[in-house]
Amino acid sequence: MAKYILQRFGYMLVTLIIIATFSFILMKMLPGSPLTAEQKVTEAQREIILDKYGLNDPVPIQYLRYMGNLAQGDLGISFQMKNQPVTDILLSRIPVSAQLGLQALLIGTFLGMLLGLVAAIRNNSWMDYSANIISVIGISIPSFIFAGLMQYFLGVRFGLLPVAFWGSFQQTIMPTIALAIFPMAISARFLRTEMIEVLGSDYIVTARAKGVTKAGILFKHGLRNALIPLVTVMGPMAVSLMTGTLVIEQIFSIPGIGEQFVSSIMTNDFAIIMGTTLFFAFFFIFIILVIDILYGIIDPRIRLAGGKD
């Protein structure tokens, strides 16, 4: 297992280096410069400023310098936010996005599992249909629509929750729900399908015949086996939450990494765009790794197969 994880970490590193290289090349191909008053600066002054930031050096040199700094955890300084170290900017914002994403993922999958379970147990009843309708709505309507509706009704019309900003628990409720709807819908659908299949399989019939309690069948035999496919979709769900935060943070004025990413793209802030891209990439790869390890815990066969490699 340890060897397996170590090997995966190795792959992860290589993937990150490739992503960093590609993003770097793509950024260099973008038109424009990080100068903020581009129109008002003469050619000579622009050269002076680009020189100061080393942007006139040959691209391979800039690349090596960037990668060298990156290895030390230094993502450079922001151009838009003059002199602010990008690493510090991201570090101050990551916890906010992480809290929001985690809350949404946990609540979303928990509620989704409840819905899926109910639907599976009461297959083809009104409960099943309602659960289905809820998940179809959740999948097809984008989170920002929910966000906007909640903000208006819960925030303005009924004054139940704060409209925006970050700091208190109340302020996390609406953005969390907006983000949680998608994972909820996905996991409800997955769990329902899997549960119905598992509950109809031979070993459940056997367990029933042995006299295992209904709860025992559901949780010990049914749920555990139905969870494996759900774990598979957890990865893509976590990633879709990251992109979801781009919009949701903007709508609720939450000082997270998504909000920063959007504004750095608008201002051509090379260092922040690179830093955020790398962080997102790292996060994605890391999630995949965690899920592979989780597989091993849920289904020992996968661990054994991995270990032999």
Binding site: L30, P31, G32, S33, L35, T36, A37, E38, Q39, K40, V41, T42, A44, Q45, I48, I49, K52, Y53, Q80, M81, K82, N83, Q84, P85, D88, I89, L91, S92, R93, I107, L114, V118, I121, R122, Q151, Y152, L154, G155, V156, G159, L160, L161, P162, V163, A164, F165, W166, S168, Q170, T213, K214, A215, L218, Q250, I251, S253, P255, E259, S263, N268
Partner: protein, 556 residues
């Protein structure tokens, strides 16, 4: 069966508990909200939003409206603009003494101005700050932009040809500042109100080094307010506040105790926050204007920002004056501002905006004197068009149109294209909607036929609108050249520099030439629409630099 019912009950309970947890949270938040809605209380607290973070609080590095806004509130330069856009003494004790040739400005500083660490604000603070702004090692964009060709030797220093000590600014004593200009600059007085010319405490800035201006802890203030809790790498990078500075020399004028600021990027969120009473002002985009126009707290503020089409004469058709005139006159500008912009913006028929500068003798507005020079007139446009086509010997013209990629500019460009193609027979327009940066680089490369472009002033003088259309200007990317126009502008900035009246007449004349040539096709002057709490009084609106000044503001 009974057992499964029991299980369902548990699940239902779990669900309802989760919902209950939510509504439990609601109760507490309700009390929070009522605290925020005490708009009518006499408390001198203003709650504002900005559309972006403060990029920098280093006055040498600042380039944008948000930075200048908070520099303007927390710092004080030699002069400060009043509500009539006239510079009033601030750190300066009175009006400047100007030598006869207009080159030497002697300014006496007040002796009771202090920094927030107790140091007095001295003449050396200005010398240090200005040298820093033009020092190439600082890498400032606005330093050289504001000072080159204005302060003596600024350009040579910025190019690295002279030592920074050679800059034309000198501390004669702690309270006497001697500024030497490159040439007499008639608008220098108003320049001194601009953020780039703010003082810096040398000892503090040197001690902070690279850390200067990174957060409120790394800053010193000498203005009406101090900036608190601002830290882009802190726990909440999107919220900060301005607190009344008790050490400010004019603290008794300042009535607001606190200004709370948060970053809000979505207009709909801003409107929602305004409607719950959490903020006192929300900027509106067109889709909200319809809903709120006419309400008592709906306000539009005209800005001195002009939008126009740049017509590149490298294109054979656009080199023809009749063709240019036809294009300029066939755009339905009134409908554009009424329907597409719908935010109080006004049609522009000249190259200088209204409510910006006045005639030095008569006090009449520039726009009022010159009137409408290039108006919408579709019939005359068609005549010009036909004459133009005849002169060119063609019956159809194809033009590339360069526009922005925002929703608003795409709507606007589509409308303009439609107007031009509909009114001018044989004209085909091909639009490219590109991001701002791309548009700028194509502009610099002169790679467009028609470009939808805009400009904001850099100082308060008609020159800021006209000099850029001279053939030698770095912004002249449309290959327009008119010797008469160039001569008038050059004369205004050289021979007539100490004769404000004759100079102003030159600008008036120059604008007429520019519009007669239809060098650019003016479209509109922008306004901004706001929802603005009526209890907020005394806010001064500035046409340049910081948008607003809250020094005299109060809550009624």
């Amino acid at each position: 069966m009974r057992k499964s019912n029991w299980l369902l009950l548990v699940l239902a309970l779990a669900l309802s508990m989760f919902l209950a947890a939510c509504s439990g949270g609601d109760d507490t938040s309700e009390t929070d909200d009522t605290e925020g809605t005490e708009e009518s209380s006499p408390e001198q607290v203003l709650n504002l939003i900005e559309a972006s973070q403060i990029p920098t609080m280093d006055s040498s590095m600042a380039t944008d409206a948000v930075a200048f806004q908070f520099l303007g509130e927390s710092m004080e330069g030699l002069y400060r603009l009043d509500e009539d856009v006239v510079p009033q003494p601030a750190i300066a004790a009175g009006e400047p003494e100007i030598s006869e040739d207009g080159l030497e400005w002697t300014i006496t500083l007040r002796d009771d101005a202090v920094w927030s660490n107790g140091d007095p604000v001295t003449a050396n603070d200005f010398v240090f700050a200005w040298r820093r702004a033009v020092n190439p090692e600082t890498g400032s964009e606005y330093g050289p932009f504001m000072m080159n060709g204005v302060i003596k030797n600024a350009e040579a220093i910025n190019n690295g040809d002279l030592d920074i000590e050679e800059l034309g600014v000198e501390a004669v004593s702690d309270t006497e500042l001697l500024i030497t200009l490159e040439k007499a600059i008639p608008y220098f007085h108003s320049l001194l109100t601009f953020g780039t010319f703010l003082p810096l405490n040398e000892a503090f800035v040197t001690e902070q080094g690279e850390d200067y201006g990174l957060s409120s802890d790394n800053l010193l203030f000498n203005g009406p307010f101090t900036l608190n809790d601002w830290n882009p790498t802190g726990d909440n990078p999107d919220q900060w506040s301005l607190v009344k500075n008790e050490d400010y020399w004019d603290a008794e004028t300042v009535q607001l105790e606190t200004i709370n600021v948060s970053v809000v990027k979505e207009t709909s969120t801003a409107v929602n926050l305004y409607n719950t009473g959490e903020i006192d002002r929300a900027g509106l985009t067109a889709e909200f204007v319809e809903q709120y126009a006419g309400q008592e707290d709906y306000v539009t503020l005209p800005e001195p920002t002009l939008f126009y089409l740049k017509l590149n004469q490298a294109n054979e058709a656009l080199a023809n004056q009749n063709i240019r005139k036809a294009i300029a006159m066939s755009i339905g500008k009134q409908d554009l501002v009424d329907v597409i912009l719908a935010n109080g913006s006004v049609v522009s028929n000249g190259a200088v905006p209204q409510d910006f500068t006045t005639h030095p003798e008569t006090g009449e507005d520039f726009r009022a004197i010159n009137g409408d020079l290039l108006t919408e007139d579709k019939e005359t446009a068609q005549e010009y068009w036909e004459t133009g086509l005849e002169e060119l010997g063609v019956d159809s013209v194809e033009l590339r149109y360069l526009g922005g990629d925002t929703d608003l500019s795409q709507d606007m460009d589509a409308y303009i294209m439609d107007q031009l193609q509909e009114n001018l027979e044989g004209l085909t327009i091909d639009i490219s909607a590109v991001p701002f940066e791309e548009r700028i680089s194509r502009d610099e490369a002169s790679d467009y036929d028609i470009q939808n472009s805009g400009w904001g002033p850099d100082y308060i003088d008609p020159n800021t609108w006209l000099e850029m259309w001279t053939s030698t200007s770095p912004y002249m990317t449309m290959n327009y050249e008119n010797e008469e126009f160039d001569a008038l502008i050059s004369e205004a900035n050289n021979e007539l520099i100490t004769d404000p009246v004759a100079r102003y007449e030159n600008f008036l004349e120059a604008e007429k030439i520019l519009m007669d040539d239809a060098a650019i096709a003016p479209i509109y002057q922008r306004s901004r629409a706001y929802l603005w709490r009526t209890s907020v009084k005394g806010v001064i609106f500035n046409p340049m630099g910081a948008d607003f000044s809250y020094k005299n503001a109060y809550i009624e």
